[in-house]
């Protein structure tokens, strides 16, 4: 999640574009499940295309579409190789700049460990306080989830129009279950009409200012024998 969130935010900080992120996780009763992560930059495609047409920006090389694609697929490939993660699927749409990743996992801890390992491999970070803790836990009855600390320091460097761009974006977190949700602790959380999913929405700027904004504990109805 962290890497994916960061991926989104790298794009945000790099391109200061209007961004939409959907983080959609399904948790089955046995703790296995599926993660779907979507980054939608279609509302800034003109700006992104104009940046991609440049050789460099702010003294840094602008990657080509192929290089971006290779990097995303390499991430998927590495994730696929980790224990407890399977069926990793990546899709990149450079017409509308929509990037999707989905995978299945045997348990939340397997998913989190896999992501941490890939992030460490990608960033060459041996250890990081942000990688030490788990941001999701599941005991069969309740799910505790949060969003990792997203480089809040960087937002201080943002200019007014960049902040405005972030405010116009959205971050949607959806958690789905195989049985009904009884209640949620975060008052901003919405429970779907069929009671099987919980959704929380905010904008990326608010999230950078308070990474606990999407913290939630979701209680499920008891398992029927």
């Amino acid at each position: 999640m962290r890497f994916l969130a960061l991926f989104g935010f790298i794009l945000v900080f790099g391109l200061t574009s209007c961004i939409e992120i959907i983080d959609d996780i399904t948790i089955k009763n046995d703790g296995s499940g599926m993660l779907k992560y979507t980054v939608n930059l279609s509302s800034s495609k003109l700006k992104i295309n104009s940046i991609l047409a440049l050789d460099s920006l702010e003294g840094k090389k602008v990657p080509s579409k192929d290089e971006i694609s290779q990097r995303i697929y390499a991430f998927g490939k590495k994730l696929e190789e980790k224990n407890g993660v399977s069926n990793v699927s990546i899709s990149t749409d450079f017409n509308d700049f929509i990037f999707k990743m989905s995978c299945e996992f045997t348990s939340l801890s397997a998913l989190q460990n896999a992501i941490k390992e890939v992030v460490q491999e990608e960033t060459k970070e041996k250890s990081s306080s942000e990688l030490d803790h788990n941001w999701m836990s599941w005991d069969g009855q309740k799910l505790i989830r949060s969003i990792p600390d997203i480089t809040i320091k960087k937002t201080k460097e943002l200019k007014a129009d960049e902040i405005e761009s972030l405010k116009q974006g959205s971050y949607t977190s959806i958690t789905r279950f195989e049985r009904m949700v009884e209640k949620c602790e975060n008052p901003n959380a919405q429970i779907s009409k069929n009671k099987m999913a919980v959704m929380m929405r905010t904008n990326p700027y608010a999230l950078t200012q308070n990474y606990n904004l999407l913290e939630n504990t979701i209680y499920l109805s008891p398992l029927k024998n």
Binding site: N40, E58, I98, E162, T172, M196
Partner: protein, 623 residues
């Protein structure tokens, strides 16, 4: 009266001595090598009267110069402390010959002790020239003659270095130097030399690798030989430059009268660019020079006399750059025909009065083609070469068979362009909509808006039917081309996102991404077009006219493309008003005059200060 006679004589002698020391004294411009092709000369006296050095050194572009000069050892000092004589001109030059490039600057010296506090890396060297002091630091050479100095660097071209190195290398019985490189590449591919390359992944790795195969480690390898060759010929070329300058007393001032004449101007700065020598030394022409020497000679003759001379004038509320482009008669005849074109007044209808910048380029391509055919074809026809003869035949056949009326009727050569800043334009985006029952989501395409620079580019045409024919066919091939009646639209044409509009009216074929122009003003802006006063200026200018509203342009620069410190400079420029205007004279066979005037209003200390603000902005942006 007889008592006054000796006094008069003394006075006369004193005046003569004073004048001769002033007139005959070595001046910095006399140290500019004759091979300098481009020179920008600053008349320090007038510039410094208006700009204090303390202000000058605050600029970012001056920081770089200061770092070069002071390199930290004299931090806290300024150019004021450099010992430079600001009563002499500062001349920056660059030149290129067949074998070497030279660059540097010449300046006056007021205090040599102070100068060497600044140039502290330079060490005194033996001088073979009487009355001349030599100092060196790495590849830079500082030469002092009288009260003037030249800081110069001479670099042999890689072509000549490689040529001499190869010659020595093979004469010594060596193999192709690249053979070892190829062999090593294979080794790397096979993973044999991984360790060596990891430790030395630069050229050092190559050298150490090669040593292990060389029988005699005391013998130079190819790269060491090349370095030696480079040093030797660099010293030789440097000596040539100095011999010419210090022994023969040949410099650019006495070599080119046009430059000498330009130096007499009292403007704040002068500019000199000898294009004819640039053409001679152009790297792209080496093939022609080698294979077709007589053709090369003809091209040189065609370009003879091609020189750009300019003056920079700082006035109270304006900065002016006046430039004259001189050329030889043959080339002049082509330019004259090309620029002898009737102004297309329809252009004026499509330039909005609130535009940020626009230009008009008024040429007659047909006349230019006919004249170029007359001038250039005889040169090519005289060439006794099968390849050129075949090309000449092709050109002559095309000249006979191609319908020139249709070709030059469609594209006459005249054009105009406008920039209207950043505006919102319509695009599409993907939106996710959620089902309240399950929170499942679907994608749908919706309309969106994004910021984009708005531009218009139009061409004068007598044959609007031809582009219309092309567009009609394109619209049959793809639905992205659509005829909207008054205009055509090509969807997602710009950066695969924004539409491009095409207007084919009033003898103009116009491309624009301005939806408002296409939809509402396809016949022209009417009363919203530029004022009569501006229109008159455009009409009266020669073949070219340009206009930039600097204040608007600064405000409309997209901030995202600049670094924070660059935006700081741009922010400093915001709020300052100014108009930049480029006009040209009528083109004659001898020359065309260009005038770039930057007028500004507001509270500025002086125009020099404002010019430096402007230069600094450009420097920071382009860095």
């Amino acid at each position: 009266m007889k008592y006054f006679k000796p006094i008069q004589q003394c006075l006369l002698i004193t005046i003569c001595i004073f004048l001769s020391t002033k007139l005959l004294a070595q001046q910095s411009e006399h140290l500019i090598p004759k091979d300098a092709v481009t020179v920008f000369s600053i008349n320090n006296i007038t510039l410094l009267q208006k700009i204090s050095m303390d202000d000058l050194v605050k600029y970012e572009f001056m920081e770089e110069v200061q770092q070069e000069l002071f390199d930290g050892s004299t931090s806290g000092k300024t150019l004021k402390d450099s010992g430079i004589d600001f009563d002499q001109k500062l001349n920056v030059f660059y030149g290129r010959t067949d074998n070497y490039e030279l660059s540097g600057f010449t300046f006056g010296i007021k205090n040599k002790d102070q100068l060497f506090v600044v140039f502290d890396d330079f060490e005194r060297m033996a001088s073979n020239y009487p009355g001349v002091e030599f100092y060196g630091s790495y590849f830079n050479n500082l030469i002092i003659k009288g009260n003037s100095a030249i800081l110069v660097r001479v670099e042999p071209t890689m072509e000549i270095v490689d040529q001499i190195t190869d010659s020595i290398w093979y004469a010594r019985g060596n193999e192709n130097p690249w053979y070892m490189y190829d062999f090593m590449e294979e080794g790397i591919d096979e993973g044999i030399y991984d360790n060596e390359m990891n430790q030395n992944d630069t050229m050092e790795g190559f050298d150490s690798f090669q040593y292990s195969f060389d029988e005699n480690i005391n013998e130079k390898n190819y790269y060491e030989l090349r370095d030696s060759v480079q040093m030797v010929i660099q010293a030789k070329y440097l000596r040539n430059v100095f011999d010419e300058l210090l022994v023969d007393n040949v410099n650019l001032v006495n070599f080119d009268k046009r430059f000498a004449q330009q130096l007499t101007h009292t403007s704040e700065g002068i500019f000199y660019l000898d294009n004819s020598r640039n053409v001679q030394k152009a790297r792209g022409l080496w093939y022609i020079q080698t294979v077709f020497p007589s053709l090369y000679k003809d091209i040189r003759e065609l370009y003879s006399g091609n020189v750009l001379l300019g003056d920079l004038l700082l006035k109270e509320n304006s900065v002016e750059f006046n430039m004259e482009a001189h050329y030889g008669e043959a080339l002049g005849s082509i330019y004259q025909k090309m620029n002898d074109s009737k102004f297309d007044k329809n252009v004026l209808k499509y330039i909005h009065k609130d535009n940020t910048a626009f230009f008009n380029y008024n040429v007659n391509l047909r006349e230019a083609y006919e004249q170029a055919y007359k001038v250039i074809m005889p040169i090519l026809t005289d060439e006794k070469n099968p390849q050129i003869s075949a090309n000449v035949l092709t050109i002559e056949l095309l000249n006979e068979f191609v319908n020139k009326d249709a070709l030059f009727g469609t594209y006459k050569g005249s054009m105009f362009g406008t920039f209207n800043g950043i505006q919102k334009i319509k695009t599409t985006k993907i939106e996710f909509s959620y089902d309240e029952e399950t929170f499942e989501y679907i994608e749908r395409e919706v309309e969106a808006e994004e910021d984009m620079p708005i531009f218009t580019l139009g061409f004068t045409t007598d044959r609007g039917d031809i582009p219309q024919k092309v567009l009609r066919h394109l619209s049959r091939l793809t639905s992205r081309f659509q005829n909207m009646g008054d205009y055509w639209v090509y969807k997602e044409a710009i950066l695969e996102s924004a539409p491009l509009y095409m207007i084919n009216k009033n003898g103009l074929f116009i491309f624009t991404n301005d939806e408002n122009l296409a939809k509402n003003y396809s016949s022209g802006y009417g009363k919203l077009a530029i004022s009569r006063k501006t229109a008159k200026k455009v009409r009266k200018s020669g073949f070219m006219y340009g206009h930039i509203n600097w204040a608007q342009a600064i405000d409309r620069f997209p901030r995202d493309f600049f670094r924070p410190e660059q935006n700081e400079i741009l922010d400093a420029m915001r709020g300052k008003t100014g108009i930049m205007e480029l006009t040209t004279s009528k083109t004659t066979r001898e020359k065309t005059e260009f005038q770039l005037v930057y007028k500004f209003e507001g509270e500025y200390e002086n125009s020099g200060k404002y010019l430096l603000d402007l230069l600094n902005s450009i420097y920071v942006i382009s860095k």
